[in-house]
């Protein structure tokens, strides 16, 4: 309905969102530029240091290489699963997408236990060839790329599958009737039609890789990318330099978002043709080969997480030089729940993620509701503020929030939140907003406005329309957004490492400290627990989404 309603809701919400999304970024920028004297001395210092340029360059090339590797794995996989029919296709097709649902730190941890210096594979190789030392070290850019490729091929896999499923079979039939061979049809018809989907996947991979923190932090060593460089500067107390670095990373992030938006617009145009997707090829001769390859692949992809489970059963100080752990028991798990200090991070993560998710749903829905259902001049700013955290690496927001809320200046809207219980949930909230907000915006945009009009013409008040029509229609989208937001907050590492206090330390930080004191069993047990909680959240919400 386009009955105009004026109220203070939209401007007040815009102001609130600006306070904790936009304002910290503005303050960071001001500080980077040397406010209040605008000396630019920090920027000049940044430009003088070769280490900064190296980190910037490392971020760029690692991200580009990740795009290439992820495409090389994800695209062929998508063709295998979308165009061919073989036993186990449905289950394996879903398993292959699994890495995207797991917190990045868990993937890193699993890789460490499998392929790291004292991981199963390296121990196996060492034992097999009777080597005196580990055959390799899992560190440096190679290790980072390895982990990136493993977790980010899923973007290419999902986008390509979606693109192939949308493709119109009649186009391929037309190409065949015009005498095109299968390879010609692939190069001239299928791939050009997939181009927008591939561009979207490429940019998403690029952005994720640019923001990646866990892998460079754990495996990078002296090899620094921008995210680890920022955190290092921050922890070393060089706060001004951290600001400049943050701004530099934010600029690259925004440039990436601009490109992504462009690609999305192109995809909408290309998505215009709707037809029946080509039928899957029933594999006959290659059927068993494809099935075996599919299962082998699934085992390969799931092995890091199986490793995690195995290591979580290793009691402290029992596994030294043997190829396989000699003792396995549930001691690590018992400790998690019986020792108050070990239980604390779990409870922390749960309450902070829940609080952030609930607030993110409320704010995301309120913003979408005000922007979509009652269009006004505030619609644009609201949507931008909701989406902005998605464009920027978590490190950027963590540093910006730390800078904005470590000063007591109530007249400037600044309060000391750093070191309090509030700061970490606030950080998670900022990161969750785009997830719930985008879901709410999309859900409301897809809803037929006639439904609400019909309810109004039947005499329903606006409260009843909201309860009986809008909310039930929006529930699936909100549930999906909420589950993603909860997963992100629960597994967060990058915001936590900048903003945590001992009292609010979440699971990810506890994993890190366990690793530092060589308690790999405990670290793995936390990892398994986090994975289980994530999977449970995903399943619970997934089921509610279907209902």
């Amino acid at each position: 309905m386009t009955r105009p309603r004026r109220g203070l809701g939209a401007p007040l919400l815009t102001l609130l969102l600006f306070w904790f999304v936009g304002y910290p970024l503005v303050l960071t920028l001001a500080e980077a530029l040397g406010a209040p004297h605008w000396t630019l001395s920090h920027v000049a210092e940044f430009a003088r240091r070769p280490a900064e340029w190296q980190a910037l360059w490392a971020s760029l090339w690692i991200s580009l290489a990740t795009v290439g590797l992820a495409a090389a794995i994800g695209v062929p996989l998508a063709f295998l699963f979308e165009r061919n029919e073989f036993p186990g296709r449905g289950l394996l097709g879903a398993l292959v997408a699994l890495p995207v649902a797991l917190p990045p730190l868990i993937g890193v941890l699993a890789f460490l236990f499998l392929y790291g210096e004292s991981g199963f594979v390296s121990r196996g190789v060492q034992a097999l060839f009777r080597l005196s030392a580990a055959p390799w070290r899992l560190s440096g850019p190679g290790a980072i790329l390895f982990v990136h490729a493993y977790s980010m091929y899923v973007y290419f896999y999902l986008f390509t599958r979606a693109g192939l499923a949308r493709a119109d079979a009649s186009l391929l039939e037309a190409a065949a009737s015009l005498g095109a061979s299968r390879s010609r049809a692939m190069w001239r018809v299928t791939l050009p039609l997939l181009a927008p989907a591939l561009a979207g996947a490429a940019l998403l991979t690029f952005m994720t890789s640019l923001a990646s923190f866990s892998a460079p932090y754990i495996f990078g060593g002296s090899f620094r990318v921008m995210t680890t460089q920022i955190v290092a500067s921050k922890l070393n107390g060089d706060s001004a330099m951290a600001m400049v670095e943050t701004v530099a990373l934010a600029v690259i992030g925004f440039a990436g978002l601009g490109l992504l938006r462009k690609a999305e617009r192109r995809r909408e145009v290309a998505g215009g043709t709707r037809g029946v997707a080509p039928r899957r090829r029933q594999l006959t001769r290659g059927k068993w080969a494809a099935t075996a390859a599919g299962w082998a692949l699934a085992i390969l992809l799931l092995s890091p997480h199986a490793t995690l489970v195995l290591v979580s059963l290793v009691p402290r100080n029992t596994w030294t030089t043997e190829a396989l752990p000699p003792v396995l028991d549930l001691g690590n798990y018992r400790a998690l729940f019986s020792e108050a200090e070990r239980l604390r991070p779990i409870l922390n993560s749960l309450w902070m993620a829940s609080a952030a998710t609930i607030l993110a749903i409320l704010l995301g829905f309120a913003a979408a509701s005000l922007a979509v259902r009652r269009r006004s001049r505030w619609s644009g700013p609201l949507e931008t503020l909701i989406a902005a955290p998605w464009a920027l690496p978590g490190t950027v927001f963590a540093v910006a929030l730390a800078a904005a809320f470590s000063v007591h200046a109530p007249w400037a809207g600044r309060f000391v939140l750093v070191g309090t219980l509030a700061i970490l949930p606030l950080g998670y909230l900022v990161r969750s907003l785009p997830l719930t907000g985008r879901a709410a915006f999309a859900g409301l945009r897809q809803m037929d406005p006639a439904l609400e009009e019909a309810a109004a013409s039947l005499g329903a008040s606006s409260a009843r329309r909201f309860r009986r029509i809008v909310l039930p229609q929006l529930r699936p989208a909100l549930a999906a957004g909420a589950s993603l937001a909860f997963l992100a907050a629960l597994g967060d590492f990058v915001v936590s490492i900048v903003l945590y206090t001992y009292d609010t330390r979440p699971i990810s930080i506890e994993i890190l400290s366990s690793l530092r004191v060589q308690e790999i069993g405990a670290a793995a047990a936390y990892g398994v627990l986090l994975t289980a909680l994530s999977a449970a959240a995903f399943l619970v919400w997934g089921r509610r989404t279907e209902a």
């Binding site: 309905m1 386009t2 009955r3 105009p4 037929d448 006639a450 439904l451 009009e453 019909a454 309810a455 109004a456 013409s457 039947l458 005499g459 329903a460 008040s461 606006s462 009843r464 009986r468 029509i469 039930p472 229609q473």
Partner: protein, 350 residues
């Protein structure tokens, strides 16, 4: 005037674009008024203004003498059937129909009885527990009607109610719709771009063009006495011939045909002659009124046929005649039919 529903000089603009201009229509109690016009004519906007989904820039709306202009849609007590029905997908057929019957829910006996009654009216008895996504398009249309009528509204509004049905189903549903509306005896305003639908369902038809009301009248009035060139060409088939209005319709380089002038036409001005196929005939030999031409197309329609005749001075003319009156390629002489509707002349600029 004792109109039950009265639209008084409705004005609405979207930005700088006026979409309805000074639209005034009245409807007596129980009357069915069709809003007919091409797409973009503002007919749906008029309906949405009446429903209260859009706010008026100027003008007023009265029901039973009560000014409802400022009332929100939920307090107007107008039932509406939407173009795509807008059935609530998360509710059953019965829950949809019960929605307007207050907040008591589908449980109360009175509500259940009303739902049963309305579904019976719509020919859907026993459909209460079906999902609205699991029934056919025609059935969905009837659920939408039952839902709109259930709260006993004062006025029924229908937005292109049949446009989503396939043609064979459309005619049957049209008759059922009319029967149901007549049975309830509700004052009805409905939007359509199909002349046949407007003529069959509407007691009176309001023709809209570019936001303006061109004419309101019975189908006969619109067909036989169109008030404007637009109505003359939009309603029914017709050919348009540029003429000079001077002692009749003077076709440049051709004869002068007798015609009725509409809309304050000055002697000697440029005008358009609008002539229906049944207003023209073939003459066996050249006469003073005859235009010579060649049959370029013949469309057979059972007991008669439509002939498209290319003439030098009047362009293409469509003539209705017996199927064997001519063949393609024949040279023929076209004259005004002595017993057909007289051609009408309208000012050129409209």
């Amino acid at each position: 005037m004792s109109d039950f529903l009265r639209l008084d000089s409705l004005e609405k603009r979207f930005g700088d674009l006026p979409v309805t201009r000074q639209v005034s229509i009245g409807a007596a109690k129980g009357e069915i008024v069709a809003l007919l016009g091409p797409s973009g004519s503002g007919k749906t906007t008029v309906l949405r203004l009446v429903a209260g989904f859009e706010t008026l820039d100027a003008g007023r709306i009265f029901v039973e003498g009560e000014d409802v202009t400022a009332l929100p849609p939920e307090r107007r007590r107008f039932g509406m059937v939407f173009q795509h029905y807008a059935l609530f997908p998360h509710m059953t057929v019965g829950e949809n129909v019960a929605f307007g019957l207050g907040t008591g829910g589908a449980a109360s006996a009175a509500t259940r009885a009303r739902v049963t009654e309305m579904l019976a009216l719509a020919g859907l008895s026993g459909f209460e527990d079906r999902r609205v996504t699991a029934i056919s398009g025609g059935q969905q249309q009837r659920v939408a009607l039952a839902r709109a009528l259930a709260p006993n509204p004062r006025v029924l509004l229908l937005d292109e109610p049949l446009s989503n049905l396939d043609p064979t189903l459309r005619e049957k549903t049209r008759r059922e719709l009319k029967r149901a509306i007549r049975k309830v005896g509700i004052t009805t305003l409905f939007v359509t771009h199909e002349q046949e639908e407007a003529f069959e369902l509407g007691d009176r038809v309001a023709v809209l063009n570019q936001g303006r009301l061109e004419q309101v009248g019975t189908p006969e009035e619109l067909f036989e006495r169109p008030a404007t060139r637009f109505v003359a060409t939009f309603v029914g088939r017709s050919s348009v011939v540029p003429v000079v209005w001077k002692g009749g319709a003077r076709i440049p380089g051709g004869p002068v045909w007798p015609a009725t002038a509409g809309g304050g036409l000055a002697e000697g001005s440029d005008a358009d002659l609008v002539v229906r196929p049944e207003g023209l005939a073939f003459a066996p030999a050249p006469t003073a009124l005859a235009l010579e031409g060649t049959v370029v197309e013949r469309r057979y329609a059972g007991h008669c046929a439509y002939f498209l005749v290319a003439t030098a001075s009047a362009g293409d003319l469509e003539v209705l005649a017996s199927p064997d009156a001519a063949r393609e390629g024949d040279r023929v002489h076209v004259v005004p039919a002595p017993d057909g509707p007289q051609p009408r002349v309208f000012p050129r600029d409209r």
